[in-house]
């Protein structure tokens, strides 16, 4: 590190009190919210994505997959809507990475990093705002879902499922924030995200029950946290076993956050 002589009697660096952290994060949340107001089109994906996916899956695959579930399209609606809820967090998280990367390529990040604020604040603010987007996307999903026949049988479970998706989504955001900081440009963040996410999404129980998959893939889906989240959301909203998947999801969320949040903050701090 620095080859300076030991300086005695130097005042220690100031610490940032928690209240200041909250204030800074609040100010940055306001910034990100103003972006949305300035550019409402940025909300398009959050609104359109659940509509398109719900209609697409229910009407294109609903009939045939529904049969294997022992019903028809109605049976598949009950299956896919909680699944898509699990997917929502992942999609929003991917957007965080690209947005954050673009932010970095303007001088404004330098300004933030040269201010006496906790460097996590910038990241926390970004995550808070993305959570709002995610909740909006989830609300749209539920409305569309109900319109195409989704039957919520456990109302308290609904809130639990939304909460669980949010927790898992925020954990994923730390991964994408890290990518956003580390990678050179937004395109590569997007490409990287796509490469990782596609197999994870389809190799899970989000879209179809894994029982019909080949053995190796079935095993993969078993350990895929997205399956756990999708199954937990199903259990919570329409009934069925929950405990195992719930704990799996929480475990993954805590694990990912515990590892990736410090990495993201550290990378953010030391970015040139």
């Amino acid at each position: 590190m620095s080859g300076t002589a030991v300086t005695t009697g130097l005042r220690a660096d100031a610490r940032i009190p928690l209240r200041a952290h909250l204030r800074h994060t609040g100010a940055l949340v306001r910034r990100n919210m103003l972006w949305i107001r300035q550019d409402p089109e940025s909300m398009f994906d959050a609104v359109l994505f659940p509509i398109v996916f719900t209609l697409l899956f229910v009407y294109v695959f609903g009939g045939s997959i529904g049969q294997s579930l022992g019903g028809g399209q109605e049976a598949y609606v009950q299956y896919i809507v909680p699944g898509l809820m699990a997917m929502m967090g992942m999609n929003m998280a991917q957007g965080v990475g690209t947005g954050f990367n673009q932010d970095f390529n303007t001088g404004v990040m330098d300004r933030f990093r040269s201010l006496p604020i906790g460097r996590g604040s910038v990241l926390f603010a970004k995550i808070s705002v993305e959570m709002v987007r995610m909740l909006i996307a989830t609300a749209v999903l539920l409305v569309v879902g109900v319109l195409v026949g989704f039957d919520i049988t456990h109302w308290p479970g609904l809130f639990a499922a939304v909460g669980l998706s949010a927790v898992f989504g925020s954990a994923l955001m730390w991964i994408f924030l890290t990518l956003g900081v580390v990678m050179k440009n937004a395109q590569s963040v997007q490409a990287m995200g796509f490469l990782v996410l596609m197999p994870l999404q389809f190799g899970s129980s989000i879209f179809a029950p894994p029982q019909s998959m080949p053995g190796w893939l079935e095993r993969f889906t078993e350990y895929n946290p997205l399956s756990a989240l999708a199954d937990a959301a199903r259990g919570l909203m329409v009934g069925g076993p929950v405990a195992h998947d719930l704990w799996m999801t929480l475990g993954w969320s805590v694990g990912i956050t515990a590892v990736m949040a410090p990495v993201a903050i550290r990378k953010f701090r030391t970015k040139h």
Binding site: M1, S2, G3, T4, A5, T7, L10, R11, A12, D13, A14, R15, I16, A20, R23, H24, G26, A27, L28, R30, R31, L34, W35, Q38, D39, T106, G107, V108, D110, R111, F112, R113, S114, L115, P116, I117, T270, H272
Partner: protein, 338 residues
């Protein structure tokens, strides 16, 4: 370059600062001292290490070795306190383009722990001061280049910094806008802000700085008062153009035989029909003009030019190689021009 140990009035103090990126030595032992209330110009070409220096001094980058303090705070050990006393205006306007001007300033105010009411008042006052009140509610993306730089300066001033870094503040601006930015910087200096300015232009350094550090490839190759350095690199160049092109040679001969002390040789720019005379002082300049008029040569234009960065480097590196300045013969210069 001998320096006093720890001057009391020193706002920025840099000792032996080194920054390596793998094999590249962006900074290779830089020493620098900026006295309170002065403007230090850091002059150098692209890749000289100017931006690296500013980034270390604003805690965006950790030095590989060496020592730097700003307002008494150590860049490595006391980054948070240091950030409280600096303002940074980067090479690229560091404002949020999607936000209106006012929101940009309010945001910085809140991040600097100003209470809401004060942050609002400060944003209003700074917009007023930098003539941006009318554009306050428009997104910064719609601003002109000059307005954006002014907003950037305003954002840097919110925390009333003791030291302001201006990293190539006018790169990419047209001459009119550049003057506008210079005017604002002079006003800030008038209010007692210490400024560390990096630039590629000798002219900018001369306009704003009182002291100059010339850097090249991560090393300081010269430093001192601006007049002193200007003298070292040959001051200004006087460009005289005779009305009659046939008078060019006689004019050059006449100027060569003037016998003004310390006057270096002349150069003839045949393409543009002018004689170039390096002058070190206003007295010399006046003497040259006087001599020309005395010979009865009619001039169509007279102008002075500052040495370009290239010329500064040529003479400074020449200097360092051990060739005394006054030993650079007129003939050498003529070859350069031809």
């Amino acid at each position: 370059m001998t320096r006093n140990d720890k001057e009391p009035g020193s706002a920025v103090s840099v000792r032996g600062l080194v920054k390596h990126y793998g094999e590249t030595r962006a900074l290779d032992g830089v020493d620098l001292e900026v006295r309170e209330g002065t403007v230090m110009g850091v002059l150098g070409p692209n890749g000289a290490g100017k931006t690296t220096l500013v980034r270390i001094l604003s805690t965006l980058l950790a030095p590989t070795a060496g020592h730097a303090t700003v307002a008494g705070y150590d860049v490595v050990r006391q980054p948070r306190q240091l950030r409280r006393v600096i303002g940074l205006t980067g090479q690229y306007a560091s404002v949020d383009e999607k936000l209106p001007g006012w929101e940009n300033l309010y945001l910085i105010g809140r991040l600097l722990d100003l209470p809401r009411k004060e942050a609002r008042a400060r944003a209003d006052a700074l917009l007023e001061r930098f003539s941006l009140t009318e554009a306050a509610r428009r997104p910064a993306a719609t601003y002109s280049g000059g307005m954006r730089r002014r907003l950037d300066l305003a954002a840097s001033m919110i925390g009333r910094p003791a030291v302001l870094y201006l990293d190539e503040p006018t790169t990419g601006l047209d001459p009119r806008t550049r003057n506008e930015v210079w005017e604002e910087v002079r006003r800030l200096v008038g209010e007692g802000v210490t400024v560390l300015l990096t630039t590629q232009y000798m002219e900018e350094a001369e306009q704003l700085a009182s002291e100059l550090t010339v850097v090249d490839r991560g090393k300081v190759i010269a430093s001192g008062g601006i007049e002193q350095l200007k003298a070292a690199v040959g001051g200004r160049t006087l460009r005289v153009r005779p009305a009659d092109p046939l008078q060019l040679r006689p004019l050059a001969d006449a100027l060569d035989t003037l016998g003004i002390t310390g006057l270096a040789g002349t150069t003839v720019d045949t393409e543009r029909g002018a004689v170039l005379v390096p002058v070190l002082s206003d007295e010399q300049l006046t003497a040259v003009i006087g001599a020309v008029t005395a010979r009865g040569i009619t001039l169509s234009s007279v102008s002075t030019e500052l040495p370009s960065l290239d010329e500064v480097f040529l003479s400074l590196t020449g200097h360092r190689a051990g060739v005394p300045q006054d030993a650079v013969p007129a003939g050498t210069r003529e070859e350069v021009a031809a």
